[in-house]
């Protein structure tokens, strides 16, 4: 992966509806997408991720701001003049054409010679393993196959950027897993930049080079999956990506003072005052009650998941904390319900949130 930018989104805003009932879909969003990366826009529905994708594709025009592709402003070009292609959530395959004709459509519209089209379509059919289906109509193939045709159709004109709008949401779980691997392979083999929209955090974490987490028309954090999981900058990101315990504490000189009087040294300096700490369930350690520097808690519930158990506990001030402890070889069930325990956190596992 090289570090040069292929797409620059600069202060882009977009609203929908009439002047008196305006809904802001994107609020001065800026992002830089690098060449050849798998970039994911992640967020709950209505966060503006699909709007941002449609702005890059050209189906919507920005109210303000610029979208640059290779340094060139493309924000106001119609879609057919932009060297980007889209894989639609509904696939939007042309029902009156065969699989091969669908894949060749973009090339045909670009006015490529017939021989080149045939050759490229053949290569694309091989790439998505659909060669035997070339002459089928699109209603004669399965959902997963339609998905692959949609991918091949969008990849055939060799766009500079491929946009994918929740392309896996219509597939069942097993097929979705297969297609996730397939997508990564295709991205690797074609070397094309992928911008992928999803609301599925697991999908985002496993596939992306970098993720932009969005909510309410703003990008909340951009980073690698590891970055975003281990160092979420705010409560929204920490909550949206994986499970998180939130603890309200007073911070003084790098030491967090909990409501019950326990103190936790969080190492890295944050600003003093009331802050929120985020701790992942797998980083919560359960020890005997009254152990030094531990937080007193009572076990409320314990749920066995096979590979691990989730232990639900209440702190003295009523805050709920979840711990995830691995199942040991002996198969012990962990602390019993109602037991008094002492909690501590793994070193470096505690994150101080901005808000």
């Amino acid at each position: 992966m090289t570090d040069d930018a292929i797409i620059d989104v600069v202060e882009v805003s977009k609203g929908f509806g009439s002047a008196d009932a305006r809904v802001i879909a994107l609020d001065a969003v800026s992002a830089t997408i690098r060449r050849n990366e798998f970039f994911t826009l992640l967020g709950p529905s209505g966060c503006g991720k699909t709007t941002l994708l449609r702005l890059i594709a050209g189906f919507e025009l920005p109210d303000s701001g610029e979208i640059r592709l290779d340094g060139e402003e493309i924000g106001h070009l119609p879609p057919h003049k932009r060297p980007v292609n889209t894989v639609f959530q509904s696939y939007a395959l042309f029902p009156h054409m065969t699989v091969a004709e669908n894949i060749g459509f973009g090339l045909l519209m670009q006015g490529r010679p017939a021989g080149e089209i045939r050759e490229t379509v053949g290569r694309m059919l091989t790439l998505v393993r659909m060669t035997e289906m070339a002459d089928r109509k699109t209603n004669q193939i399965s959902g997963g196959q339609q998905q692959r045709v949609a991918l091949a159709r969008a990849l055939a004109p060799q766009p500079k950027v491929l946009l994918l709008d929740e392309p896996l949401s219509a597939l069942d779980y097993k097929l979705r897993k297969e297609m996730q691997i397939e997508l990564k392979r295709l991205q690797h083999e074609t070397g094309i930049t992928f911008i992928f929209v999803t609301h599925d955090q697991e999908e985002a974490l496993t596939m992306s080079d970098r993720i932009a987490v969005m909510s309410n028309g703003k990008i909340r954090q951009i980073g690698t999956p590891r970055d975003i999981y281990t160092h979420p900058v705010n409560r929204f990101v920490a909550d949206f990506i994986g499970e998180t315990n939130f603890l309200k504490v007073r911070l003084a000189n790098g030491v967090a003072n909990l409501a019950g009087g326990a103190q936790v040294d969080i190492g890295a300096g944050g600003r003093d005052g009331e802050v929120t700490l985020a701790v992942r369930p797998e980083h919560v350690r359960i020890g005997p009650a009254g152990a030094p520097n531990s937080i007193a808690a009572t076990v409320r519930n314990s749920v066995y998941f096979g590979t691990d158990s989730h232990i639900y506990m209440d702190l003295a001030d009523g805050t709920e904390v979840v711990a995830r402890i691995g199942t040991d070889a002996g198969g012990s069930a962990g602390p019993e319900i109602g037991a008094a325990v002492g909690l501590s956190f793994a070193a470096g596992a505690v994150q101080v949130l901005e808000d």
Binding site: H80, F94, P95, M109
Partner: protein, 302 residues
């Protein structure tokens, strides 16, 4: 299968025939019967005061294309008949094409409105059917005749000095048929466009197709069943139109329908009228077959 079951089966079949008997009888008497009579009549001789005389003859069939010179008895191509055939076909094709050109944007517009507006607009499209065709055609007559609404208005506005002669021309017939048959084009087109997945438009634009290419390569091939249905619904009644050419075309600008009527009326040549009717039927059927064949072949490689 047991004997009882077999018996029940036979009884079912008998009941099915018995139940459909009324429909079959009506079809036989009302559709096949008259057609058969017309076919038989076309091979008979004309009676002196109408009706037919029983005597086998090909005269009527020959009479479609050639006329016998009353002085020297030689046969000549019937120019007048050919003119009428040609006018009928020409006006029907023009009407079909023009109702499509006007009807397609109309249907598209309706199909892309909100459900409430769609219901209102479709209702408006069907309103003309509430009034008798004859009255509507006379209304058009009133608008386009030399002293009618259109010419009076144009002269009052000072745009023209002399009335533009529209009434009793081919153009008047074409205008009238377009007006009468437009809903028959709009409704099937609307049904087809309503089923069209608008997301395919974005897919087309995304794959470098211009607006014109999206229309030609994506929209038209997909809504083709609607185009075919609309064209058939307009072309067939146009070809046999009677009221419109009679009122707007006057006596001179006849179409096949009027010509057939003439044979059964003043012409007192029922066999010729019958032969013309059968010809019209065959022409329509051949046109349909060719059209459907052509449309099907094309849809395989949109």
């Amino acid at each position: 299968m047991s004997a009882a079951e077999e018996k029940a089966d036979r009884e079912n079949a008998r009941n099915a025939w018995a139940l459909s008997a009324p429909a079959l009888v009506i079809l036989l008497l009302a559709a096949a019967g008259p057609l058969l009579i017309i076919l038989v009549y076309s091979f008979l001789l004309p009676g002196k005061y109408g009706n037919v005389e029983w005597g086998f003859s090909f005269d009527a069939w020959r009479g479609i294309l050639v006329t016998k010179d009353i002085f020297d008895g030689t046969y000549q191509l019937a120019d007048a008949h050919l003119t009428i055939f040609w006018r009928s076909v020409k006006l029907s094709i023009l009407t079909t094409v023009f109702t499509f050109v006007v009807g397609f944007p109309t249907a598209w517009f309706i199909a892309t409105r909100s459900p409430r507006w769609r219901a209102i607009l479709l209702f408006l499209i069907t309103i003309p059917f509430w009034t008798n065709l004859l009255i509507r055609t006379f209304a058009i007559n009133q608008i386009i005749r030399n002293e009618g609404l259109f010419n009076t208005l144009m002269i009052k506005l000072g745009l023209i000095d002399q009335p533009i002669v529209i009434i009793y021309t081919d153009f008047a017939v074409f205008l009238g048929m377009t007006y009468v048959y437009l809903p028959l084009m709009v409704l099937p087109l609307f049904a087809a466009i309503d089923r069209f997945d608008m997301r395919l438009l974005e897919a087309g634009y995304d794959l470098y197709a211009s607006r014109l290419q999206v229309l030609r390569r994506i929209i038209l091939p997909i809504v083709k069943p609607g185009i075919i249905a609309g064209s058939i619904l307009v072309f067939i009644p146009s070809l046999g139109a009677y009221v419109t050419p009679r009122i707007l075309g006057g006596g001179r600008n006849m179409m096949i329908g009027n010509f057939i009527e003439l044979q059964f009326g003043q012409g007192r040549n029922w066999p010729l009228g019958a032969a013309l009717s059968v010809t019209l039927l065959v022409v329509v059927m051949v046109a349909l077959l060719v059209y459907v064949r052509f449309a099907n072949r094309d849809s395989g490689h949109g």
